[in-house]
């Protein structure tokens, strides 16, 4: 019996209870992760972090939330009122929606009902997460536009370009997983990882997903949409009070959602790490929730670590990286995965598979050598042109083709 059919025969009250639980989990996790992030980043910067409100400062985030809600709600005069109000609502609802297809546990006994803590198992579950993410961008873009001010508009434009670009890399990194699992449903993908987690089998896909999930959530070092040094607050510059709190909530729920998706796709979801399978005998399957939770928290820690370590990227370098590195590498990797998959399915001999793998490794090495050579060649070309006559006013360097022509003309 696969996970989709287990979920399908849930009675209504179980579905409602699950929905409430998932929602509550997201909100509580947000409060805790805001606190966690501040504490961890503080440690990394040799500070203490919030430690006054509650034990270890645990309810600092709650106190901040209450303060935020009680602040004055300002709508700028130049703002487009309706869109200004709708934007944060779009942002926050879509990121909660993404959680509907994420399995939080293995099979558990929920008040006498055998089920899985997952709202629904769509046959296109992973694409559904991508779809909610792409609607979520509307929140950011519309917030930027409706504020009626320059910085938010720039932030909104940046973020839409960024999220669209990184969504492509992200979508392509799913393809390897789909090919291996033979399905797009989260339940089937977890079932397909029973022997090896995808992080081992499909490491390049995993690496690309992790990079693009940071780009997708607008987090440091890719937080160009709200680069405070350049754009004040970016798209949420003009927002205050509860509306700002909604964006804040959306950002953290989004981080947790992409972490949960990474866990599902690459780290075996709620299944126990190798060698610890016996834990599922304890607590009747509920122990799997602990594994899931730990994996998600590990990703969250990684997010905070990145923020504490890396400076923000320059915008053009960031876009170049997405389009010229991540996407082509991803496409080449999908070709390799698809070929290997087909070879094993057709029952090709070990020699053929080993030969293909060797050929791929050689091709990668060859491509790298050619790339290095071409760099040297470009330098030689530059030397051939020689030092340009020092211009008396600042002009960009001419393309070599034109410069050579000019030299011949002289």
């Amino acid at each position: 019996m696969n996970s989709a059919s287990i979920i399908l025969d849930d009675p209504t009250w179980v579905i409602v209870a699950k929905g409430v639980l998932v929602f509550a989990l997201c909100v509580v996790l947000t409060l805790l992760s805001v606190w966690g992030e501040r504490r961890i980043v503080a440690r990394m910067q040799m500070r203490m972090g919030p430690n006054r409100v509650g034990p270890f400062g645990l309810i600092q985030a709650l106190a901040d939330g209450v303060k935020l809600a009680l602040k004055e709600d300002i709508i700028p005069a130049a703002a487009d009122r309706a869109v200004f109000v709708i934007a944060p609502i779009i942002s926050v609802t879509t990121c909660f929606m993404a959680f509907a297809v994420i399995p939080l546990t293995g099979e558990v006994n929920f008040f006498g009902e055998q089920t899985i803590m997952q709202l629904t198992d769509l046959p296109v579950g992973v694409l559904y997460v991508l779809a909610t993410a792409s609607i979520g961008v509307y929140g950011i873009v519309l917030a930027g536009w409706s504020s009626g001010s320059t910085y938010p508009l720039l932030g909104g434009l940046r973020s839409s370009a960024q999220v669209i670009s990184y969504e492509i890399a992200m979508g392509l990194s799913f393809v390897g997983v789909f090919i291996y699992a033979g399905s797009m449903s989260t339940g089937d993908i977890i079932a397909a990882q029973s022997t090896w987690w995808n992080v081992v089998v499909l490491f390049p896909s995993f690496a690309i997903y992790v990079i693009s999930m940071v780009g997708e959530t607008n987090r440091a070092p890719f937080d160009l949409a709200e680069a405070e040094g350049e754009l004040v607050g970016g798209f949420h510059t003009e927002y205050s009070s509860l509306k700002f709190a909604l964006f804040f909530l959306a950002e953290y729920v989004n981080i947790i959602a992409v972490s949960a998706l990474a866990t599902t796709l690459f780290l075996g979801g709620p299944s126990a790490p190798p060698g610890l399978g016996f834990t599922s005998a304890w607590l009747g399957g509920w122990f799997s929730f602990i594994w899931f939770f730990l994996k998600v928290l590990a990703f969250f820690f990684f997010f905070v670590w990145l923020r504490g370590t890396l400076p923000r990227l320059r915008y053009d370098q960031f876009m170049k990286f997405g389009w010229k590195v991540l996407i082509p590498v991803n496409v080449a990797w999908i070709l390799v995965v698809a070929t290997l998959r087909l070879l094993t399915q057709q029952g090709a001999s070990q020699f053929v598979i080993a030969g293909f793998t060797g050929a791929v490794v050689l091709a990668v090495l060859g491509a790298m050598t050619i790339y290095d050579r071409s760099k040297i060649k470009a330098e030689e070309l530059a030397n051939q042109v020689g030092p340009m006559p020092e211009p008396s006013f600042p002009v960009p360097a001419l393309p070599t083709s034109l410069a050579l022509k000019e030299k011949e003309g002289n």
């Binding site: 991508l130 434009l157 393309p399």
Partner: protein, 254 residues
């Protein structure tokens, strides 16, 4: 009433309202949002009609990518003010009216031929091996040729747009940020390692050609651009200092 028809009767009027309102909105961005909403409701209908793949792809591709690019351009260009009603290209209005009429006639004839209330035929058969698998079967066997031709066409269009928008960039190797940073710290002096000083700010003038004053009162050559020095366009900062203060000469003596 089944869940499906309840969904239909709630969402369908909203979709129709939104699509009609889209035509009458004054701001282009509002129209775009309403159109996005119509697309999302269509996607929900597809999913309710047991075509989950089509529904999700509709959202990812149309709402997430195409409509978003539309919005992007609208915001970038700022098409907000009311459109001009002057005919810029001669006869364009009559062509537009004719095309609109022809298109609506086609639509009306097709819709008029539809039969309502018929049970769906062949859905279970088509979805027997799973919705996605069934689609894949068609796309990569019967229709693989059409599929490939369309993707080739799209790629050609994308490449064409890139060629048209391309401008030749310098391929002369530039010193990297890293090399420049090292040079700054390993140079003769690290006095400027943190960056060059900005030009002067005075009560009566703060143009770029006015050198800043060093702590000892001398004008700093580094604070103005090299180009201005070559052109001899650097102004005297002395003349903009406040009067009544002890004057400082170039040597820094009072």
């Amino acid at each position: 009433m089944s869940g499906e028809s309840a969904l239909f009767w709630v969402l369908a009027p909203l979709a129709v309202l939104a699509s009609v309102a889209m035509l009458f909105m004054k701001k282009a961005v509002h129209s775009a949002i309403l159109l996005a909403w119509v697309m999302i409701t269509l996607a929900i209908f597809y999913i309710a009609l047991e075509a989950p793949f089509l529904g999700i792809v509709q959202i990812v591709v149309y709402t997430g990518a195409v409509m978003m690019l539309f919005l992007f351009i609208l915001m970038l260009v700022g098409v907000d003010s009311s459109d001009s009603l002057v005919e810029k290209i001669k006869g364009i209005r009559s062509v537009a009216i004719f095309t609109a009429l022809a298109f609506s006639l086609t639509l009306i004839t097709f819709i008029a031929r539809a039969e309502l209330g018929r049970p769906s035929v062949g859905l279970d058969e088509a979805n027997s091996g799973g919705n996605v698998e069934g689609l894949a079967q068609y796309l990569f066997s019967d229709y693989v040729w059409a599929f490939e031709v369309i993707s080739a066409l799209l790629i050609t269009a994308a490449l064409g747009a890139m060629v048209l928008a391309h401008s030749e960039k310098s391929d002369v190797a530039r010193t990297s940020q890293r090399a420049r940073s090292i040079a700054r710290f390993r140079g003769k002096s690290i006095a400027t390692a943190a960056g060059l000083p900005g030009s002067g700010v005075y009560a009566r003038n703060n143009a770029l050609d006015l050198p800043a004053l060093l702590p000892d009162g001398k004008p700093s050559d580094l604070s103005t651009a090299e180009v201005l020095h070559r052109r001899g366009d650097v102004a005297e900062s002395k003349s903009y200092q406040l009067e009544g203060l002890p004057k400082i000469d170039d040597e820094g003596n009072k």
